[in-house]
């Protein structure tokens, strides 16, 4: 079956990210990490499904993770989506992941979605923008979240060697359609070096640092495959995108492509009808300037070529060597976050309970919470607002649950307070515990009178009775 609108979708589901330890382990790959009691990957897949993209390639790092993801997918989406799981060896980076699926890619454009995306921004809009501009690459940027923005905006699930401190620096043209400059978090230095040529071509550039790269890209396949041939690229975000942006005026990739049949792939010049004489990003290097200047983007370039060769007989036809890098900026009302750190995990879970609850697909009750009908609640137990309690969970007497997510089949004793926390599946919490702001992975046992504050507890850990922990990651060693 032909891909719809000539777009193929690749979801990079990652493997077992170190950044998310201790939450993620070999038993629980990142893709299956429950966010509001649904595996993380399901958010991306459902977003795609909602846009009518049913044929999806999922790339998973590591064998075990791949097996687990595959078995989950076959159960959850068997009849709805046509998902193909491709596994790659660990630690190959996003570029490696794309290399692994390259043989499967046949359509004109490829949509690459990070598996840790939780968003309600339609991928269709990005794809359409990409098409409209005939761009080589279109990236989705969204306003960086305010809370802990710095942390979650730098990232790249698998890129370890980076300091989680700075934001991206993004240069935009005045119409905010073209990406003129991009430096991703880790590579930001004291000075920003901006190519004069690009600025000259555009007239003015807007530099922003409050956008984050949502890791959703639409690539022209030919461009993407050309880039993949290059060595020493590791991450799409940190290497490929900056490379494409940097070289948009002296493109080596699209130069090769000009002669191929792909008509619209070349970055013909275009002109924005804005106030100052405004060549956009795709304006050429000097030797091309003359050629490009003659014609505005008059429709597809094949026309221009013919037209030029006809009308300007006295001019040799210079080759065009530009491509366009476009940007799709999401609106303020749309939700977009990437789960690439422990803090982001907590933030996203809270958002799912609060402002972005529409994404989860749960219907919240009058008390603004979701309590599965099979949940057994003891006497005087209260489940406050913004809570999700999944099926099979048993709560003892006098418990209090606020702004928390509790997974399946947990057994919670009496007089337990759970505030602002995420409790995954099959967890036993004995009486008189207090859990605040923590993340408890599956199969954890918390014995009596334990007190946890801002902790992350790895799977299978046992917290002994009466112990108190504060701001610690706890893993089974």
């Amino acid at each position: 079956m032909d891909p719809p609108m000539d777009f193929q979708v690749v979801v990079l589901a990652g493997g077992t990210s170190d950044k998310l330890s201790p939450l993620v382990s070999k038993e629980l790959p990142k893709a299956l990490l429950p966010v509001a009691n649904k595996p993380l990957l399901s958010y991306a897949l459902e977003l795609l499904e909602a846009t009518n993209l049913k044929n999806i390639i999922v790339v998973v790092e590591g064998d075990e993770a791949a097996t687990q993801v595959e078995s989950w997918l076959s159960v959850a989406y068997m009849d709805r989506l046509n998902v193909e799981v491709v596994k790659t060896p660990g630690d190959v980076g996003t570029v490696g992941a794309i290399r692994a699926v390259a043989p499967f890619l046949i359509s004109t454009d490829i949509l690459i979605v990070s598996g840790d995306l939780v968003s309600d921004i339609s991928p269709g809009a990005i794809a359409a923008t990409h098409r409209r501009h005939g761009a080589a690459v279109t990236a989705l940027f969204c306003p960086a979240p305010v809370s802990g923005g710095a942390d979650s905006s730098t990232s790249g699930g698998k890129d370890k060697a980076k300091k989680p401190s700075r934001c991206n620096i993004v240069g935009l043209d005045p119409t905010r359609q073209f990406l003129l400059h991009v430096v991703s978090g880790a590579k930001v230095e004291k000075d920003i070096h901006i190519q004069k040529r690009i600025v000259r071509a555009v007239g003015q550039m807007e530099i922003r640092s409050d956008f984050m790269d949502a890791h959703v890209y639409a690539f022209k396949r030919t461009v993407l495959l050309d880039v993949l041939e290059k060595e020493n690229l590791y991450s799409i975000k940190q290497d490929v995108l900056p490379y494409l942006v940097r070289t948009q005026l002296r493109s080596e990739i699209s130069a090769k492509k000009e002669n191929s049949a792909d008509e619209s792939s070349n970055g013909a010049t275009k002109e924005l009808p804005s106030e100052d004489v405004n060549i956009n990003s795709a304006v050429p290097s000097n030797q091309n300037l003359r050629w490009l200047s003659q014609h505005r983007e008059i429709a597809p370039s094949s026309y221009q070529e013919i037209h030029i060769s006809d009308c300007d007989m006295n001019k040799s036809r210079p080759s065009k060597k530009t491509h366009k890098c476009c940007i799709y900026l999401s609106g303020k009302t749309q939700y977009c976050a990437r789960l690439n750190s422990v803090q982001a995990f907590g933030d996203i879970n809270r958002d799912m309970l609060g402002e972005a609850s529409r994404i989860t697909g749960y219907t919240f009750s009058a008390q603004n919470n979701v309590v599965h009908p099979t949940v057994v609640q003891g006497a005087k137990t209260t489940a406050g607002g913004q809570c999700i309690i999944a099926e099979g969970t048993i709560l003892g007497d006098k418990c209090s649950v606020k702004r928390s997510v509790i997974g399946r089949h947990c057994r919670i004793g009496s007089n337990v307070k759970i505030v602002n926390s995420i409790v995954m599946n099959h967890i036993t919490i004995e009486d008189n515990c207090t859990i605040q702001g923590s993340v408890i992975s599956s199969n954890v046992q918390i014995q009596e009178r334990a007190s946890l504050k801002d902790c992350q507890v790895g799977a299978g850990y046992v917290i002994t009775a009466g112990s108190e922990y504060k701001s610690e990651p706890l893993t089974k060693s």
Binding site: P4, M5, D6, F7, T51, N52, L53, T108, S122, P123, G124, A125, A127, A128, T129, R131, R132, H133, G134, E263, S264, K270, E271, P273, S274, E275, V277, L289, R290, S293, Q294, H295, R296, E297, I298, A299, P300, S302, Y303, I306, H307, D310, C311, D312, N314
Partner: protein, 628 residues
């Protein structure tokens, strides 16, 4: 020949244009009225050669032609009408007669109009060969449209239409053939209509609403619709593809709009405060369409990706300009054809035609078609339907694709090359050339003239809100051409030094009216007043048989926000939130109609012609030849 024309003030056409359109609804059943008028005229005056159809063409326009238009008027094309209107007193009655003819339910006045036009016909017994061709041509066409109309609403008597045709046949040997055909058609239709030969005032007021409903099509282009065979052809197509909103749909008809919306792919909400006079044109809330369409990107399986892409680009104004849009559309169709496979139990000619039709309707939703695109679509559909049935899919597809290539190549690229050569011959050393907007052909002319070392200067006149001239200016300056840039407001000042005006056109209609970027008419009129020759450069594929007197009946409305916001002047925000204020109506027209009087010469690939010769081109080189 110009001596025949009386000297009249230039203001004429403007006033009249507005006047003409106001009885908008009355225009509805115009087609039926023509035969009536012509029949009556024929009987009253009995002068066949003058064939009253010219009355329908552009009567009000020509009187205003000054003799200061000495350039290329080899033939006084529409002599009869000029004669009618030659003397000032005749003017106003004739206008009223037009209304009557249009409305044709103002029954009582019909006689008067008939008499007038009859007199006009009688006064001009001579008409040159060149002239007559279009005239005789139009007559059969009338009958054809008429026939179709009668098929739609059979209630109308069509008898009279046959009569004038027979008179016509006597007129010209050349025309006999056509007339025979017409007579045949008329006979057929008379048979179809139950041979009800009725009086000239056929449509009774009572039946009017019904007929109007049925034929909202002709009412769109106002009084002159019936002369245009295009109307009928498009109408035929409209029947085929139900999905396509008719190019000239009346958007003030709520039921129609409702129906259209149900089918629409693009979710459009109608703008609320629209200018009264332009209610019949589609105007949507800009800014909502694009995101909405983008959201649905993957949901529209039926639309081919390349068509979708082109539609998006039209919607976002990324591709604009007649040639560019036409080429983009054709290339997209080429890909559609490439990817097309005939479904089982269907024939390629029919199914592909329908498919193209649905693509076209999508494009219309994105932005109304230009005349050039309309012609290209007609070409393509004609090619599709005329494919031999025994061709294999592959052959048929490759044949269609090469047809498209041929169209682009011959009609657009080589044509513009030829225009460049013709146009350059009119540039002399020391000229100061003025252009308006950013017409691509004119740009090529300038570039070529500069290339062959002509020494000239260019004045680029621009206007808000698109500022297209700036792009042109930049490219010209980069070439080393000496330029002056000014806005439309200053055109009367700058016109003093100008020696030639080069303009582009979106379309040239068969009465010589140039339909082009809004503001063109203004430039042409100022140039005319300053006795500066106006050269309109237009490829012949943009010619259209339609006749249009004003820019109201058929036009396009742009984004009103584009004119309410002043870029770079944030403090000029008086119009913010205008949509909430019922007392404000913004009008951002995209096109206007320049009367042929203001055009000295049309530069086409067929050579340089007076605007009055457009029908000849259409007839001799244009549409008919293309389709076969």
């Amino acid at each position: 020949m110009d001596l025949r024309r009386p000297n009249r003030p230039v203001i004429g056409p403007k006033v009249r244009q507005v006047g003409f359109v106001t009885p908008d609804s009355a225009a509805a059943t115009s087609s039926s009225s023509i035969p009536a008028v012509s029949a009556a005229a024929a009987t009253s005056a009995g002068s066949p050669p003058s064939s009253l159809s010219p009355v329908m063409i552009p009567p009000p326009r020509h009187p205003s032609t000054e003799m200061s238009n000495p350039h290329f008027h080899p033939v006084g094309s529409y002599n009869p009408s000029e004669q009618i209107l030659g003397s000032p007193p005749a003017l106003s009655p004739s206008r009223s007669s037009r209304f009557d003819a249009d409305g044709s339910d103002f029954g009582g006045d019909d006689d008067e109009s008939v008499a007038l036009s009859g007199v006009g016909g009688g006064m001009t017994p001579k008409s040159s060969l060149l002239m007559r061709q279009p005239v005789t041509k139009t007559a059969p066409l009338v009958s054809e449209t008429h026939k179709r109309d009668s098929n739609v609403s059979k209630g109308k008597g069509d008898g009279p239409s046959a009569a004038p045709k027979e008179k016509l046949t006597k007129a010209e040997r050349r025309a006999t053939q056509e007339a025979q055909r017409a007579a045949k058609a008329a006979a057929k239709e008379a048979a179809a209509a139950g041979g009800a030969p009725s009086v000239s005032k056929q449509p009774k007021p009572a039946t009017k609403p019904a007929t109007q409903q049925k034929k909202d099509v002709p009412s769109g282009s106002g009084p002159l619709q019936p002369l245009a065979p295009s109307g009928s052809i498009e109408k035929k197509q409209g029947k085929k593809e139900v999905a396509a909103p008719h190019p000239r749909m009346q958007f003030d008809d709520m039921t129609k709009v409702g129906k259209l919306k149900k089918r629409a792919v693009v979710n459009q909400s109608e703008a609320r405060n629209r200018v009264e006079l332009f209610r019949h044109l589609p105007q949507y809330e800009h800014g909502t369409q694009l995101p909405d369409l983008e959201l649905k990107f993957f949901q529209l399986d039926l639309i081919h990706p390349s068509v979708y892409q082109v539609g998006l680009q039209f919607l976002s104004d990324k591709i604009s300009g007649g040639n560019a849009r036409c080429i983009a559309m054709l290339l997209a169709f080429k890909e559609v054809i490439q990817d097309y496979t005939t479904p089982p139990e269907k024939t390629l000619t029919r199914d592909l035609g329908a498919k193209v039709g649905s693509c076209v309707s999508f494009l219309i939703e994105c932005r109304p078609l230009s005349v050039s695109m309309g012609n290209a679509i007609r070409f393509l559909k004609n090619r599709i339907s005329s494919l031999p049935h025994n061709l294999s899919d592959k052959e048929a597809k490759s044949r269609l694709q090469s047809d498209i290539d041929r169209f682009i190549n011959e009609k657009i690229i080589i044509a513009s090359k030829a225009i460049v050569e013709h146009g350059v011959s009119k540039i002399r050393d020391g000229d100061v050339l003025l252009t308006y907007g950013s017409p691509s052909v004119v740009e090529s002319i300038f570039a070529y003239a500069h290339g062959i070392k002509k020494n000239f200067r260019v004045v680029v006149v621009d206007s808000r809100p698109k500022h297209e001239g700036q792009g042109l200016l930049r490219r010209l300056v980069e070439r080393g051409i000496h330029c002056t840039y000014t806005h439309l407001n200053a055109v009367s000042y700058v016109m003093h030094e100008v020696t030639r005006v080069f303009l582009g056109a979106s379309s040239v209609l068969s009465n010589g009216t140039v339909y082009s970027r809004v503001g063109t008419a203004c430039v042409a009129m100022v140039a005319h007043a300053f006795r500066v020759p106006v050269l309109v450069c237009c490829e012949a594929y943009k010619f259209h048989e339609r006749v249009q007197l004003d820019s109201i009946c058929s036009n396009e409305l742009g984004d009103p926000d584009a004119i309410s916001k002043v870029s770079g002047r944030k403090n000029l925000n008086y119009l913010d939130g205008w949509a909430q204020n019922e007392n404000i109506q913004l009008l951002n027209l995209k096109y206007d109609a320049t009367p042929s009087d203001y055009v000295s010469v049309l530069v086409t690939e067929q050579g340089m012609l007076p605007p009055t010769s457009v029908p000849v081109i259409i007839r001799e080189y244009g549409i008919e030849r293309l389709w076969t």
